[in-house]
Structures are given as structure tokens and as C-alpha cells.
């Protein structure tokens, strides 16, 4: 069965791009536009990987991450954080993000990162 990625991103266009890339790569992608909905989704349909935007309306990305890490179910879930600002890196890592990507990223880059995190061998496109 295809591995499951939860994408939490409020910019609809960015979300669509990432979803397209990952789906094309054979992954199942579910999407939430803000933190509270994402946490519900996380419990209903546990993913293998979370891609989390740093800047969200309502709960910020860091708050979502803290909530994810607080729950024993998802304590070890791999999380990749996206940000558009450089200095957020330390804060994200302190909160427990495994990987960190700065916008804008190249498509190949993000796919490679996701594969690494899911423990799959790199496929040639």
C-alpha cells in the first residue's frame, strides 16, 4: 500500500504543487490548511510523514509540532518543516522537527528529502 503523507500548508497553490509532486511519485497525500484540522486528521488517519508549514493561521506551525510531539502515538513520527524565513530553523529543530526546508525549494530536492525520510531508495525520475 502507498505510504501516507499529511501536508499542512495554508497557501493553496503551494499545497497543490506539493500534492501533485508526491502523488506523481506514488504517495498518498492528505491535506489540511490549518493546525486544528490537521491534528484531527492525524488521529483519524495516521500518516507516515508530516510536512508542516511554519506560518499558519490560528495555531502556528511550531504549536502544531509541539502538539504532535506531545502525543505518544506520534512522538516518533517524522516531520518536515517548511519555512519562508531563515531564522526559524533553530526554533523548529528545538521543537522537534526532523528536517527543514526553505521556500522556494526545487521539486527534486523535496522529493528526495521525502524519500529519505520514508526510508525508500532514491528512484530515478
Amino acid at each position: 500500500m502507498a505510504q501516507h503523507v499529511l501536508l499542512i500548508e495554508d497557501e493553496p497553490n503551494i499545497a497543490e504543487a506539493i500534492r501533485f509532486l508526491l502523488t506523481r511519485d506514488g504517495l498518498r497525500v492528505s491535506h489540511a490548511a490549518e493546525g486544528a484540522a490537521a491534528l484531527v486528521l492525524l488521529r483519524q488517519d495516521p500518516p507516515d510523514l508530516v510536512i508542516l508549514d511554519h506560518m499558519l493561521p490560528g495555531m502556528s506551525g511550531l504549536e502544531v509540532l509541539t502538539a504532535v510531539r506531545a502525543d505518544p502515538e506520534s512522538r516518533n513520527l517524522p516531520v518536515m518543516m517548511l519555512t519562508a524565513r531563515g531564522r526559524d530553523r533553530e526554533m523548529a529543530e528545538a521543537a522537534g522537527a526532523d528536517r527543514f526546508m526553505t521556500k522556494p525549494f526545487s521539486n527534486a530536492e523535496i522529493i528526495a528529502e521525502v524519500r529519505t525520510m520514508l526510508g525508500q531508495p532514491r528512484q530515478a525520475p
Binding site: 495554508d10 497557501e11 497553490n13 503551494i14 497543490e16 504543487a17 506539493i18 501533485f20 509532486l21 511554519h54 506560518m55 499558519l56 493561521p57 490560528g58 502556528s60 506551525g61 511550531l62 519562508a84 524565513r85 531563515g86 531564522r87 526559524d88 526553505t102 521556500k103 522556494p104 525549494f105 526545487s106 521539486n107
Partner: protein, 894 residues
């Protein structure tokens, strides 16, 4: 004359007064009073001194007691020609301390004591009620004269019914024009002008009747003089005590009568008007009394023996077949009665509401000062009080059965209100006068007056049993009401005058000499007595702990939003602050208290501010410290004050600048990463989709869709860059303005349509005032519309109320237009209000997404360029922004 015609004439006349009052109020609203604020109108309005009692009664008085009626006019004449000595001081105090009534003056002078306010109010109401009844009676009697003269002898209306209708009509008029608004200075231009018109009517009426009598009936001046010498009146003998006493009494009454105080002090627009009134008002009185003696003499000669001399002014012309003249005289008498009742009931209603009803309300509901809409409470209290005063007057009329006993009530009422005189004069000339002294004096005077004059006026056996008259209270001979301490030889009214005033003054002086005044009392005493020496230094408030926002809320509920806001804004500016809220400094609290006391009276205003400030009024020790300092400082005070004011301003400005700097430096990093974020977000989509597209191998609709996304994001990027560029151009002042005439309504329409794109899903109620928006501005319409769009979009975006509503309020004044955008969300917290106009300053922490946060910064720059401003308006419940634009923006020479 048909009776119905008479009723019709009355109606027409009252309708005419309504129109006058209405037109004047409209002009007052537009601040175009012009000649309506002239000394002439002021002088004419003073003529409410002449009531129906003087209009009809003076002739009767002359017929019965010869020249004695003149004393009633001589007293006021002496007071007015001596205006420089007394009235000027009274008026100056009234203006500076926003005094609303006699009761307020006394209460304010003696430490803002409400007890005193209540005593004076009570006294005024008790003394005025019979007087109002007297006016109703005079109207009923004059109707009666016409009715009995009607050929068919039919009486369409009973006396009681007439009185009811007159009372109801007067209440309606007074409520309509007397409680329209709660002006900071309690002025009623419409009513004052209507009173002035009535003054002219009654003077013309009396002069016309007099001229008719002298030249129409008698054979000119010489003949009248001969008739006077031949008349029975010669039998009248002057009593020196009564002559002197009545002059003194009427002199006292003209200052202390509630209605006189109302027109003389409260409604006074300009101290200079007093100079004109000092001779013009006595001249008016002279005109009113010029023909009294001839009318009386000729009337006694001509009329049948049993005729009531009080009605000669009406019956003489009627008997001579001069119906039109009689009608004029009737209207004159009607004017005298109505104008007196209107002003008296306003004056009494102000006292009752400020000193009795509102304090009670505040005591019963301790939180009321912060919650209720006090404006409407006060106005409602006034309306009820007016109705109550008139109902009292009517009730008294019914009880007394319109008896002849009423005729003597005029002097008794004079004597009643004259009891205020010692406390009033002592208050403005003697710093040693104390609250206890004033209370003792007033209560003593009131008691003696009631016992020797007021209660006996109902007749032996009515209120006081006959045994009291014969043997004194408790059978003590020296307590007989008309012979206190065995003084039997005196005329009753002079007896009452002598004893009530003597004991009043004695109690007042002894009470003042043996008590020690409280701090507020001493301050007020110094402020009143030394009114001409400029502001007395020490302030009434120590630095308070009040939240300026709470103070603003309270002020808005009393003064109204606009007035309160502009008061606070100017105070803030004087402290060197740019926001709306000033610091609650002692000086500011003083200023605020003075303004509030203009609406609700000194005692209530003081109590309400104390409630918010906590116990922060000065103590005696503070006072002593300030006093000894001020003795040394006085010589340098002018210089020091100026320097201190400047220091305060600078300190305020510095503090504000520092606050802003700290906040800004905290935001410096956020600012940079914010730009980075705003640029990177669209870039991310563009980069991802363009890479996808270059890989090819996609269905055609996907290509189209991704192409559009790239296009949209590129546009977003451009917009952001435009905004940044726009801002920098605006900030450098290098902007090109496109000036032209444009309709404000059109601009708001455009802005509302454009802003609908923001959260189009939202159901948003917009409340507008289209007539107010019908203004043409000379400005840059596109730029101004841009500001409107921004503010409306913000409301759509951030207003969190479940049923979102946006009010757009337009006001025009003195060459500027303000447009307020007020939503019903939860507003912007106080600490953020100074920041929202900064670049990228978005509310809450920077991690919340939304617009770029440049909107308000751009708005501010645009408004600066348009010669106006945009500011956050605190105290509106929701978020509120005020845009101020000049009506005509002239192109500045660059």
C-alpha cells in the same frame, strides 16, 4: 368675542412660539446664531421676571395699595444698575464653574455638597409651586373674563379643563425644547428666543392698553394727572418698613429666583451682555409699569364697583368695545404666564434631576457610572421632573381652588427663595463661609419662612390650627406665627422677612465661624471668592489611578461621543501625545470634572470621577503644602508654569517616542524576515509549477491551470512590490496628487464594491448615512478611495462578530470632514493601537498569516499627503478608524 376664536388665537400663538424655538434650535445646531446671541435677546429674556402676577396683578396692586407695586421693580433696578459689583461676579463664576442652577452654585461652592443641593432644590420647589399655580390661575381667569362677556353666556370649557390643557401644553413645549440635548453648558437657545419674543408681546400689549387708556379714554397726560389726584388712591398711606422691606426683598429675589438665575447666569453667552442689560432691563421694567397707575385710576372710575381690579387690563378695553385690543392684552398676559412657567420648570427640573434623581440613581446602581447610558437617564429624569413640577403646580391650583389666597403668594414665594441669599452672597464674598454654616442658615431660614409666612398663607385653620395663630405653637405666646418674640406691630410679610432673614444670617454666620471647612470646600471657596484673580493654583485631584479609557467611556455617556472625543483629543495634544487618550493628570481630571458638571451638576460630577479615580482628592495637608509653596512661587508662577507645561509636553513626547522605539526595535528583525516571507511565498509556487511544466508530459487542462497559478502568483509578487514602492514614494512626499472635485458618497460606494472581493463569502452588514455623505470634496479621489477600501477590507477580514456590521459615520465641521469606520468586533487592544500603523505591524504575533501588513501604513501616508489623518478611535466597542480630510485641499507649492 366668540370664545372659540380666543382658543384658536391661543393655539396659533403657541404654534408661532414652537416655530420660533424650532428655527432657532436649528440655527444653533449649525452654529449660526448671529444676532440671536445679542445683548438685546439677553435683556428681553430677563423679562421673565415680569410674570402674569405683574402683568395683571400690578394694576390690582396699584388699585389696592397705591404706589407700593413699584417696590417690586425698584429692587431689580438697584441690583442691575449695580451689576459691576455683584451680577458680574455671579455670571463669571457661573461660566467658569459650569454652574447649572442656584442649587448647583451653592452645592459647588460649599465643597460640592449634595446635601446643600437637595435643600436648595427643595426650597425652590416649595416656593415655586404656588407661583406656577398662580400663573395657571391667571390664564383661567383671563379666559373667564372673555367667557362671561360672551353674549350667549355659554362656557365651552370649565376652568379646570383650561388649566389642565394649559399645563399639558406647557409641559410639552418645555420637554420638547428644554430637554433636546444635554448641552455641556445647559443652554437652550430656542427657549430663550421664544421668551424674548414673549417679552416683546407683553410689553407691546401693556403699552397699547395704557396708551388707549391715557389718550383714548382719558384726555391725555394732563387729564390723567388730574384724575390721579382726584382718585381714592390718595387715601393709601405708605408704611416705611414695608416700602424698604419690599425693595430689599425684590432685590434679593431677582438674584435667587430659579428662573432668573437660569436666564441671567446659566443662559448667559457673554459677560459683556450684562453691561447692556444693566440699563436696558430697568428700562424694560419702567416701560412695563409706566401705565399701571393710569389704568388703575381710570379702571376704578369706569368699572362697576365689584369689578376685579386684577383684570382691568382686560376688562377696560372690553367694556369700551375694543375687542382687538383686549385680545392683544390677553395674549400679553398669556405670554407672561407661559414664559414664566417654561423657564421655571426647566430650572427646577435641572435641579431635581441633578441633585435628587441622578444621585439616587447612582446610589441605587453603584456600577451605573460605568455601564448605563447616563445621557438618556439624565434626559429622562429631566422630562419626568418637568412633568412633575407642572403637575405639582396644577395640583396646588386645584387644592387652593383658585382662591384669592393665591394673590398674595407672589411675595411669599419671593421671600422663600430669598433665603438662599445669605449662603449665596456669603459664598462669593466670604472665604470663611462653610458648608455647615450654609446648611444651618438655609434650614433656619426655611423653617422660619414656612412657619411665619408660607403655612399661614393657606389661612387660619387650613394647615396651622387657629389656636396656633392666637396662642402660639404649644401655647407659647412668643411663638405666634405673626408675632414671633412678641413683635406684634409688624406687617405680616415684613415680620416674616425680618425674622427669617435675621435668623438665617445669624445661623449662617455662627455656623461658619465655629466650624472648620473640608479641603474641597476651602478650594472652592478660594476659587469662587477670588474668581477675578485668575485660576487658583492648587488642583482638586491628586494624580489618579483612573484608566483613561474608562474615563472616556464615562464622558461619552454624559457628553456624547463627539464632544467627549474632541475633549480628550485636545487634552492629549496639550500633553504632547498623538493618540486619543491623555494621561489622567490632576489638571486633566479638573478639566473633565468641570465639563461634566455642566451637564449633571458639580456634586454628581465630582462623585462620578471619584468613583473611577479612587480616593485621590487632596487632603488638608496637601493643601497646606501647596498654599505655603504657592505664596513663594506666585511671583515666578507664570514663567514656571510655562516651563512646566513645556516639560510635561516634552516628557510626554519622549515617553511616547521611547515606547515606540522599543517596540520598533523588537520588530526590526521581524520586518526583514517578513519581507523575506512575503516574497518567498509566491516564489515557491512559481518555482514548483514552472519546474513541473518544463518536465512536460501533462494534459492540456493541467498545463493551463498551472500556467494560471504561475500568473496569479507573479501578479501577487508585483502587487507587493508596488505596495512597497508606493509606500516609499508616499513617505518621501514625492507623490503626484490628482486633485479634483469628487463625491464622498461615490467614493464610499466604489470602496464598498471593491472591498467585497475580500472574503466574499462573508455576510456583512453596512450601515450608512447617505444624506450625511452628500458632500463634495476637493481631493485625490483615487487615493482617498484606496484608504477607504483598505479600512473596509480590514473590517471584513478581522471583524470577529458573528453578525458582522460596519457603521460608516460622516461628520462635517469647520472645513474638515471626518469619516468613521466602526465595526462591532472586539476591537484592537490598547497596547497595539499605537503600532498598527507601522509597516508590517500585524496584530498578535508575527506568526499569523494574512495580508502583508502594509495597508494601514500606506493609508497613513496617503492621508498625510492629502492634508488629513487616519487614526484609531478608542472607546467604540468595536474596532474603529477615523479618517479626517479637509473639505478643500489646496495644492501646496512643492
Amino acid at each position: 368675542m366668540p370664545f372659540n376664536l380666543l382658543v384658536l388665537a391661543c393655539f396659533l400663538y403657541v404654534a408661532f412660539l414652537f416655530t420660533v424655538a424650532f428655527l432657532v434650535e436649528r440655527r444653533a445646531d449649525r452654529r449660526r446664531l448671529g444676532w440671536l446671541r445679542s445683548p438685546l435677546v439677553y435683556t428681553l429674556s430677563l423679562s421673565i421676571y415680569c410674570t402674569a402676577w405683574t402683568f395683571y396683578g400690578a394694576v390690582g396692586y396699584a388699585a389696592r395699595s397705591g404706589l407700593e407695586f413699584l417696590t417690586i421693580y425698584f429692587g431689580p433696578t438697584l441690583v442691575f444698575v449695580g451689576w459691576w459689583w455683584l451680577l458680574r461676579k455671579l455670571v463669571r463664576i457661573g461660566r467658569q464653574h459650569h454652574v447649572t442652577s442656584v442649587a448647583d452654585l451653592i452645592s459647588s461652592r460649599y465643597g460640592k455638597s449634595n446635601t446643600l443641593g437637595v435643600i436648595v432644590t427643595m426650597l425652590a420647589v416649595v416656593a415655586a409651586t404656588p407661583y406656577i399655580a398662580l400663573q395657571l390661575q391667571s390664564v383661567v381667569l383671563s379666559f373667564g373674563v372673555f367667557a362671561s362677556a360672551a353674549p350667549d353666556g355659554s362656557r365651552p370649557l370649565e376652568a379646570g379643563q383650561i388649566a389642565v390643557w394649559v399645563a399639558v401644553g406647557l409641559a410639552l413645549f418645555t420637554i420638547l425644547f428644554g430637554t433636546r440635548n444635554l448641552d455641556a453648558r445647559e443652554q437652550h437657545h430656542g427657549i430663550v428666543t421664544a421668551i424674548a419674543v414673549e417679552a416683546v408681546v407683553k410689553l407691546v400689549a401693556l403699552l397699547a392698553v395704557g396708551s388707549f387708556v391715557v389718550w383714548g379714554i382719558a384726555g391725555g397726560v394732563a387729564d390723567v394727572i388730574a384724575r390721579i389726584d382726584a382718585a381714592d388712591l390718595a387715601a393709601w398711606q405708605v408704611q416705611p418698613g414695608r416700602w424698604t422691606g419690599l425693595i430689599l426683598l425684590s432685590a434679593a429675589a431677582v438674584i435667587t429666583l430659579p428662573r432668573m438665575f437660569q436666564v441671567m447666569v446659566v443662559e448667559n453667552e457673554d459677560e459683556g451682555h450684562l453691561a447692556r442689560a444693566s440699563w436696558a432691563f430697568p428700562l424694560y421694567l419702567l416701560g412695563m409699569s409706566l401705565f399701571i397707575v393710569p389704568i388703575a385710576v381710570v379702571g376704578l372710575e369706569r368699572m362697576p364697583a365689584g369689578a376685579n381690579p386684577d383684570m382691568f387690563v382686560l376688562t377696560l378695553p372690553l367694556a369700551e368695545g375694543q375687542a382687538a385690543l383686549a385680545m392683544l392684552a390677553f395674549l400679553g398676559g398669556f405670554s407672561s404666564a407661559t414664559s414664566m412657567v417654561i423657564v421655571e420648570s426647566i430650572a427646577l427640573a435641572t435641579m431635581i434631576s441633578n441633585h435628587v434623581m441622578i444621585p439616587l440613581w447612582l446610589r441605587l446602581r453603584p456600577g451605573a457610572a460605568e455601564e448605563d447610558d447616563l445621557r438618556s437617564v439624565v434626559l429622562m429624569a429631566r422630562r419626568l421632573a418637568i412633568a412633575a413640577v407642572l403637575a405639582l403646580g396644577y395640583g396646588y391650583y386645584q387644592l387652593s381652588g383658585g382662591s384669592a389666597a393665591l394673590a398674595s403668594i407672589g411675595l411669599i414665594a419671593f421671600l422663600g427663595v430669598a433665603q438662599v441669599l445669605p449662603a449665596m452672597l456669603g459664598g462669593i464674598f466670604w472665604r470663611g463661609a462653610t458648608r455647615t454654616g450654609a446648611i444651618l442658615g438655609l434650614v433656619t431660614g426655611l423653617t422660619v419662612w414656612a412657619y411665619t409666612s408660607f403655612l399661614p398663607s393657606f389661612g387660619p385653620g387650613a394647615v396651622l390650627p387657629e389656636t396656633v395663630f392666637a396662642d402660639g405653637l404649644f401655647g407659647l405666646g412668643w411663638l405666634r406665627p405673626h408675632a414671633l418674640f412678641g413683635t406684634q406691630a409688624m406687617d405680616p410679610i415684613i415680620h416674616a422677612l425680618f425674622w427669617s432673614m435675621a435668623l438665617n444670617v445669624l445661623a449662617f454666620c455662627l455656623g461658619s465661624l465655629f466650624t472648620f471647612p473640608g479641603p474641597v470646600e476651602r478650594l472652592q471657596g478660594a476659587a469662587f471668592v477670588n474668581i477675578f484673580e485668575g485660576a487658583v493654583g492648587p488642583q482638586r485631584w491628586a494624580r489618579g489611578r483612573a484608566e483613561p479609557e474608562a474615563l472616556l467611556g464615562m464622558a461619552q455617556r454624559i457628553l456624547g461621543e463627539e464632544t467627549a472625543l474632541s475633549l480628550f483629543q485636545s487634552a492629549a495634544r496639550a500633553q504632547g501625545k498623538e493618540v486619543f487618550l491623555p494621561d489622567p493628570t490632576p489638571a486633566f481630571l479638573d478639566q473633565l470634572e468641570a465639563r461634566l458638571s455642566g451637564s449633571v451638576g458639580a456634586a454628581t460630577a465630582h462623585a462620578m470621577i471619584s468613583q473611577l479615580v479612587g480616593r485621590a482628592t487632596v487632603t488638608v495637608e496637601d493643601l497646606m503644602a501647596v498654599a505655603s509653596e504657592s505664596a513663594q512661587i506666585l511671583e515666578y508662577s507664570a514663567r514656571l508654569e510655562a516651563r512646566e507645561a513645556e516639560l510635561t509636553r516634552t516628557a510626554g513626547a519622549l515617553r511616547e517616542a521611547n515606547e515606540k522605539l522599543t517596540q520598533l526595535s523588537l520588530q526590526k528583525d521581524a520586518f526583514l524576515s517578513q519581507i523575506s516571507h512575503e516574497l518567498r511565498t509566491p516564489m515557491t509556487s512559481i518555482r514548483a509549477f514552472s519546474e513541473i511544466l518544463t518536465e512536460g508530459d501533462l494534459p492540456a487542462e493541467a498545463v493551463m491551470r498551472y500556467g494560471r497559478i504561475i500568473h496569479d502568483e507573479a501578479k501577487r509578487l508585483t502587487r507587493l512590490l508596488d505596495d512597497l514602492l508606493d509606500l516609499s514614494v508616499l513617505e518621501n512626499g514625492a507623490v503626484q496628487l490628482n486633485l479634483g472635485l469628487a463625491s464622498l458618497q461615490g467614493m464610499i460606494d466604489t470602496a464598498l464594491t471593491a472591498a467585497r472581493q475580500t472574503r466574499p463569502d462573508r455576510d456583512f452588514q453596512v450601515v450608512r448615512d447617505l444624506p450625511a455623505e452628500a458632500i463634495y470634496l476637493r481631493t485625490d479621489a483615487d487615493r482617498l478611495t484606496q484608504v477607504f477600501i483598505n479600512l473596509i477590507s480590514n473590517a471584513r477580514k478581522y471583524c470577529d462578530a458573528p453578525r458582522a456590521e460596519l457603521r460608516i459615520v460622516v461628520l462635517q465641521r469647520s472645513g474638515r470632514v471626518t469619516v468613521d469606520f466602526i465595526d462591532n468586533g472586539k476591537g484592537i487592544p490598547k497596547e497595539s493601537q499605537a503600532l498598527i500603523f507601522e509597516k508590517f505591524a500585524r496584530l498578535t504575533d508575527a506568526n499569523r498569516a494574512g495580508g502583508a501588513g502594509l495597508g494601514l501604513a500606506i493609508c497613513r501616508e496617503i492621508m498625510t499627503n492629502l492634508g488629513g489623518s487616519v487614526a484609531y478611535l478608542p472607546g467604540q466597542r468595536g474596532a474603529a478608524f477615523r479618517v479626517t480630510v479637509p473639505l478643500r485641499l489646496e495644492r501646496l507649492a512643492a
